[in-house]
Structure formats: C-alpha cells, structure tokens
C-alpha cells in the first residue's frame, strides 16, 4: 500500500510532458482543427518523426486567430 502511494506521488511530482503541455495549450485555444496526423506545436517531435520515417517535413506557422 505504501509503495503504491509513493509511486502515485512520484507520478504527480513529475513535470508535465511536452506533449501534455501542447494538449493543454490546444485545449485552452480550443484549436481542434488538423487533429489526428498533425503534430501540434512541437517542432522537435516533428523533426524526430521525420528522421525516423525519412520523410520531408511541412511546418505551418499559424497563430490561432
């Protein structure tokens, strides 16, 4: 029981992941267009995916109006 509680506390104490931050931002902006295959506001993740798949990368710079 104690070890489970400690594990839960450790999880709570972890900093939010970048992906989690981006989803929070997306929710705050109510920006749900391009959901699915598009990576949201995370260039490093997109570059890593492009390297993994050897694909070219489309970067759209567009604020939420």
């Amino acid at each position: 029981m104690k070890s489970t509680l400690l594990a839960l506390l450790a999880l709570v104490a972890l900093p939010a992941s970048p992906a989690g931050d981006k989803e929070q931002l997306r929710s705050a902006l109510a920006d749900h267009a391009l959901a699915g295959t598009w990576i949201y506001d995370d260039l490093d993740a997109a570059i890593a995916e492009a390297a993994r798949t050897r694909k070219a990368l489309i970067v759209v710079l567009r604020c939420v109006p």
Partner: protein, 227 residues
C-alpha cells in the same frame, strides 16, 4: 500529404530564428524542410487563393528531398544569416511586453508580426544600426518587375516595362528554376532571395524558356528596396 510529416506551430515563443526567417507580416507561412533542418522552400498566405501552387511547391520539395544530401550546397542559402536574437522571447522589446514564457492560451502569445517590429524597435533603442532590409522587408518580385502565377512554382505572367527584370531579358512565360543559385518552389522563395541578397550583387536567374535553358542576370539599382 502522407509523404510528409506535418506540424503546426501556433506561437512565436521558442522559434529558432536562425531557421525560421520569413515575411512576418503574413497570416501564415509554410516551410518545407527535412530532419537535418535544411529548408527546401517557403510558401506564404499571399499565394493561398490558389492552392494548386502549393501542391506544385510540395511536389518540388519532394524532388529536392529525393536528392538530399547531394544538393546540400545549393540549399544552403535558404537559411538566413545569424539573427541578432536567437528566439523571439530574447528580443528586448518583447521582454518589456512580458512575452517571456510559452503561451498557455491566447494571452501572452508572441505573434509573428511582433517579431520584426520588436527587433527593429530594440535595435534602435540599443543604438545599433538597423539594416535597410529590416526597414523594407521582404520585397515582392514585383519590386524588380516580375509578376508570377499563383498556379505554378514560379512562372512569369508579366514583366514591367523598364524594370530590372525587363533589362535582364526575362520574359512572360519563363519558368524560374533557380534564383540566386537556389532552387525555387514558390513566390516566397523568390522573395527570400531578394530579401537576403547582398546588395549590390546581381542575381543570377536560371530559366526554362519553352524547354530551353536561359540565364539572366538581374542587376538591382541603388536604393531598389525602398524606392
């Protein structure tokens, strides 16, 4: 589109300004690049009335991607000179506005149009010289007399009389393949070369004219950016 990894960036905070330099006045901008951070081309909102141009630009990007890295040298110029500030939140005028953290909603976001304006304001406040290209940023191809189709990568639809383009021998119908040695995918790519050109250096223009190669030399008169 499944041949690309697609990402949308919604805020200026954290942008690598050594990589992302573009016409900040546009409402949106597309960069096509690779995982080595080499830029294949730019495409901007000005051409958005006709997305067939975007499709052709993307097809051109895939051609460049297939040639990578053998074409590394000719793509080098698509990355700009080292910026004065590495990212927007380091620009003093934006720091003064409190734009020092990532956006968590609409408030606090660094917008694209803020970047160049703030850089100019900061340079002036610091007593630093402001480059002429900052004061007349991203000259359009029309400034040198070239009108381009929005349906193609860079096909000339008209040439202004007595313009630098006419004097260089560029003609309606010409397909611009390279401009300043850089492969051209779009109007925005032509604009990029004009913006970064080290004046008064002339710009070499490689053209497909009805299937035959033609090379023009575009001579830019003094003061052409602000005239």
């Amino acid at each position: 589109m499944d041949r690309f990894v697609c990402v949308r960036i919604v805020q200026g905070w954290g942008l690598d300004l050594s990589l992302f330099q573009f016409d900040w006045r546009q409402t949106w901008m597309v960069f096509v690049m690779n995982s080595d951070r080499a830029v294949y081309g730019r495409y901007d909102a000005r051409q958005a009335d006709d997305l067939i141009g975007l499709r052709k630009a993307l097809e051109g990007a895939l051609e460049l991607h297939e040639k990578w890295p053998a074409n590394k040298a000719e793509l080098a110029g698509k990355i700009g000179p080292a910026p004065r500030w590495k990212s927007p939140e380091q620009i003093p005028a934006l720091q003064e506005k409190g734009r020092t953290k990532p956006a968590v909603g609409k408030d606090g976001c660094i917008h694209c149009h803020d970047v160049l304006e703030s850089a100019v304001r900061s340079a002036k406040a610091l007593g630093e010289p402001v480059p002429e290209r900052y004061l007349a940023p991203y000259p359009t191809p029309q400034r040198v007399g070239i009108m381009l189709s929005t349906k193609e990568r860079a096909t000339v639809t008209d040439i202004d009389r007595h313009s630098p383009a006419e004097k260089a021998g560029i003609k309606e119908g010409d397909r611009i393949l390279k401009f300043g040695g850089q492969p051209i995918l779009s109007w925005a790519d032509v604009q990029w070369v004009l913006y970064t050109n080290p004046d008064p250096e002339p710009i070499q223009v490689e053209i497909d004219r009805a299937g035959r190669p033609f090379v023009a030399t575009l001579v830019l008169p003094a003061g052409w950016r602000t005239r």
